[in-house]
Symmetry: C2
Subunit: 368 residues, 2 copies
């Protein structure tokens, strides 16, 4: 993996990550493909809209269908028919957010499957093994992600464990020949405690990961605290590595984070909202079920060039949504993802043109 910053506009930066499976232009938005599919769209549609990387979930794929099965069928790229890069999270976040029961020790996390209640033990080593079996291009370390609110002591313990697990992940990865071509990113924890965030980064920085992520945000803390942490971390994460803000995809949050120097984002927001009939347009969010769209012959967003906007009216999309047709979820998802990917492309253009500040303040006025 090779990362280059190609333009800067203040701390905001545009760049390029080169991987064996293709180039990723940053700032990049990664559509989420939890179960080895980005919900409601095909890989061809993702490529058509210019998606350069997708994120997939180690926790989910480990439980179902199993990483061994995916490896046997040729790896995750072949399994899901997606030839471009894949980043896999490590399962750290899901073990905390989805499992009904868990027991954390220094060795790892014992947890119950949210699918069938079966008991599993996830360790840093196992998280690497799974990501190797999947054949991911970018691995994430297995981290401990405390909920909000947590006490300083709880968060400190999680920071220390994350550091210890990060080391184990790095060691394990270098021992797996199959993982050689893949990158490994560290994850900074520390909750909303400024000193713990700094401590976490200080402990991880010497390990020289190929990228650095900030985890444990957008887990319930107030927005000002989240923004404070984004503003704190952006400038201090290693400048020569990609900086990834995990799980955050509200467009205003992305603008704030890009301004602080972040490069990579993932979020279910465009896909989940699409299935709920909430659509992003150049004039703000709309809910397609609203009566005002009943007889509306216009496309969702007259400024958009996606397949949905080129071919269908708001009146038709409202009808599909109200009749709960499958095509509704697909056409809405195509639009929302296209909107996100275009939004990020325009951010890169603005950075390259030295106009990111202007871009940001213009989009901050839109009603999301």
């Amino acid at each position: 993996m090779d990362f280059k910053v190609t333009a800067m506009d203040g701390p905001a930066r545009a760049g390029s990550i080169k991987t064996q499976r293709g180039e990723i232009h940053t700032p990049a938005f990664m559509p989420v493909g939890t179960n080895a599919t980005v919900k409601a769209v095909s890989p061809d549609e993702l490529m058509d809209m210019g998606a350069e990387i997708v994120l997939s979930n180690t926790y989910h794929l480990y439980l179902r269908p199993g990483d061994g099965l995916i490896e046997q069928l040729g790896g995750l790229h072949k399994f899901m028919n997606w030839p471009r890069p894949i980043l896999t999270d490590s399962g750290g976040f899901q073990v905390y957010s989805l499992s009904p029961l868990r027991k954390v020790s220094d060795e790892g996390v014992e947890f119950q499957s949210h699918i069938d209640g079966s008991t599993h033990f996830m360790t840093p080593e196992k998280a690497i093994e799974i990501q190797s079996a999947l054949g991911s291009d970018i691995f994430m370390i297995f981290d401990e992600c405390p909920p909000y609110p947590s006490t300083r002591e709880e968060v400190l313990r999680a920071v220390k464990r994350t550091t210890a697990w990060a080391r184990k992940c790095k060691e394990k990865k270098s021992a797996v020949p199959k993982a050689e071509q893949s990158a490994l990113f560290g994850i900074v924890q520390g909750g909303v405690y400024e000193d713990l965030r700094r401590q976490s980064l200080e402990e991880l920085a010497p390990m020289d990961f190929e990228g650095y992520a900030v985890g444990g945000l957008s887990v319930g803390e107030p927005k000002p605290e989240m923004y404070e942490m984004i503003g704190l971390m952006g400038p201090v994460l290693p400048a020569e590595k990609p900086r990834y803000l995990m799980g955050i995809g509200d467009l205003k949050d992305c603008l704030t984070a890009v301004e602080a120097g972040f490069d990579m984002f993932d979020c279910v927001m465009p896909t989940r909202n699409a299935r709920n009939g909430t659509l992003f347009t150049s004039e703000g969010r709309i809910s397609i079920k609203r009566a005002e769209f009943k007889e509306d012959p216009a496309p969702l967003d007259p400024a958009c060039n996606c397949y949905t906007c080129r071919n269908y009216s708001r009146g038709y999309l409202r009808h599909l949504f109200l009749t709960r047709e499958i095509l509704s979820m697909r056409l809405n998802t195509i639009h929302n993802l296209h909107f996100y990917i275009e939004f990020f492309r325009k951010m890169r253009e603005a950075i390259a043109g030295g106009a990111f500040g202007e871009f940001k303040s213009r989009w901050e006025q839109v009603q999301w």
Copy 2:
């Protein structure tokens, strides 16, 4: 509309229907697009697989979103982004099969909406008005479709009403300028009573419809009775007009009906089965959820060239089905519809090559 028989093999025939919106090769299978969408697939996918016509439902579209709305938005073709021919049924069958309450008189049918319980009155004239508003290429007359079992008297009354309504439909259609370019098909009723079937046809034949359908089969009667009616009607329906067997799509039934001289078919079987994980292959039906497919790297049907079979393994399709992913329904639907459309193309080839009997007996040995 212009219909030509281009080849015959016994009573089985291959032909071509030319409409203002394109040609339909017969025997033809029409995918069902009830709510102005063929469930789970896009119009582009339908065109890619060679679908030449789709069926849409007057009853459903009248109730939701309303034929007036569709007309206002440019007609059904534009609304659903499907440029090729559309056949609309008249709502006669749905009024009987879906409405929780109905009252039939010589004027029409008062019925309750299965969506919101509201009361509506459907008449032959109104069925034509709706189909005109939709901009359908092939209209169906509004018929009375009695359930099975019904007494001879009940069926006789339905035959007489269907005849009277057929006349009203024809008159109404000739009075609607917008409907001039569209065809109107009659529907023969008569249940499983041979003499009533003959009577229904004798009454409708002089009205010179542009095509003749057989309705009221596959409504619960035993297969031998259905086959008897198919064998009875095929040879006596006007030879110079398309012959349409409504709502029947089991492939063995289609083979039997083509052998008897039928040309057109519609059925939700390939689409509904796809969503339930039941798939048609050259070796018979399979249920994709079965454990034997868990680690199977082969495509659904090695003999198939559809998008699904070219790109995905059985193992992946089983995983998508078990995780209830939307892509599962789409990939399965693409395969099943492609299989049907190819099956019908091969039937036409067999008829043209004088080998339909051989084709039929070969496929009858497959486990459907």
